[in-house]
Symmetry: C2
């Protein structure tokens, strides 16, 4: 295979298989090229990936050596993307009865979801995450986007056990904003004991749900290495946030139903 | 930018932005290269993509001309992937009380989900799909995988309206297997009138849920151009399947709880 062809094939391989470790001899074999040629290909790809701000190739030396693609997203690119999202969300047409904000169009757009996944994955890239945990249902696409960049499985916490998931561990927790007692469950088979995990969700108010997930995960002796929420609601009257050390991309600072006004600002990602 | 660098950058662009139409002058500008050079790059990429069996670049001639990447997955590659899935699912350890099959590990693996998405997207590639519709919750990751290859939004049907989604259209339908009357809802804002859609779900028995979705979608005058299910259960005693013209990748033909035996065969994708 010629260099030009190999560059296309290798680039496709890396983008489609983030964090997949492949040895140089294996690439030599697949593309029928000398190891030195493959090495030069990898240098070119690494440099272009760095210039494009999409990540790096990480090489591992030695007998078990090889290379893997670590996706990254520069903080600057992340901020630009979030600024555009914030503007989109300030549209008064998005206001729903009760002061809720319509966001399903954004969460339904695979390209938007993918970028959000890229931002969180970049932040948790060095935490040896082994699974991404979310709660059904709105966080699910975000969790898959993060997981695909980290090359780890998604584990879904539910409100009720499902017959198709076998025996489950359940806990009761107090919802932060409504102070109601609620239940959440996680199938026993879905998470290995002692895993490193990150939690991803679409929305956080007081943080009761995420706090519940942390409790449930402690039943599996999981290590929560990071918490990422797309939107946090900054409720001025109620400063009893029960979760600390989370990463938020967007903050709803004020909703005025009468004036039809929404104030949105970037979340703590901008200042971290 | 040198050809080698452009090939890496362009390949990344196409893989990350399927079905995104870009004009040649635009690429010329981004990569600071003559249109004739870009044309040659595109020929190389198109040829390698075809050899790798991952899709083609489709060029549009004329003033509004340009190029887009149409992801494809050869039927043969699809069949190989499905055969491996079938073997994985026949493991008796997957049997759950009630004769259900544990599949959450596979549905939780972003790489598996992506391949499934690629297979369905390839089948529906010429149907001008404008949205992928699924029902919460297990079909959601599959729907996003299909939608990302088709570059269209995901629309999620739910059992109950959510306060964060505004006013909804709801219908009642009869569940195929349990004959119970159930409800499903779709937010009014989530789907444009008269859209071309495909329906994606993880599991189908008699097909009542999918039939319900078809009814609900008719309230939006949507055209259901395709129906894809990952697994269908072939219940010999009950031949009242209410859905026709669906595509299934995997078929559960027999489950024997006492003997701890599961028989799995490829779905109708293999014979279509």
């Amino acid at each position: 295979m010629k260099r030009s062809d190999r560059l296309v094939a290798l680039t496709n391989f890396f983008i489609e298989n983030p964090r997949e470790h492949v040895s140089l001899p294996r690439f030599s074999e697949i593309y029928n090229a000398a190891k030195s040629s493959i090495s030069e290909d990898l240098d070119i790809i690494d440099r272009v990936f760095a210039d494009e701000g999409i990540g790096r190739l990480r090489t591992v030396a030695g007998a078990a050596g090889g290379v893997k693609y670590i996706p990254e997203f520069s903080v600057n690119n992340g901020k630009k993307f979030i600024d555009v999202l914030c503007q989109t969300l300030e549209d008064p047409e998005r206001l729903l009865p009760g002061g809720y904000l319509y966001m399903s169009d954004l969460l339904g757009d695979p390209a938007v979801v993918k970028q959000i996944g890229r931002i969180f994955a970049s932040q948790f890239t060095d935490s040896n995450i082994e699974a991404v945990v979310t709660v059904a249902t709105k966080g699910i696409p975000l969790a898959y986007a993060v997981a695909s960049f980290l090359n780890v499985p998604v584990v879904i916490v539910r409100r009720d056990p499902m017959v198709t998931e076998g025996s489950s561990v359940s806990i009761n927790y107090v919802s932060g904003s409504s102070r109601k007692i609620q239940t959440m469950v996680l199938p026993k088979r879905s998470l290995k004991e002692g895993s490193n995990v990150c939690i991803i969700d679409d929305f956080m108010k007081a943080g009761g749900t995420i706090n519940g997930m942390v409790s449930l995960l402690s039943e599996f002796n999981a290590n929560v290495k990071g918490i990422g929420v797309l939107v946090e609601a900054d409720d001025e009257e109620d400063d009893e946030r029960v979760v600390e050390n989370y990463l938020s991309l967007i903050k709803i600072t004020h909703v005025d139903l009468k004036q039809k006004q929404i104030n949105i600002s970037p979340g703590n990602f901008h200042t971290k």
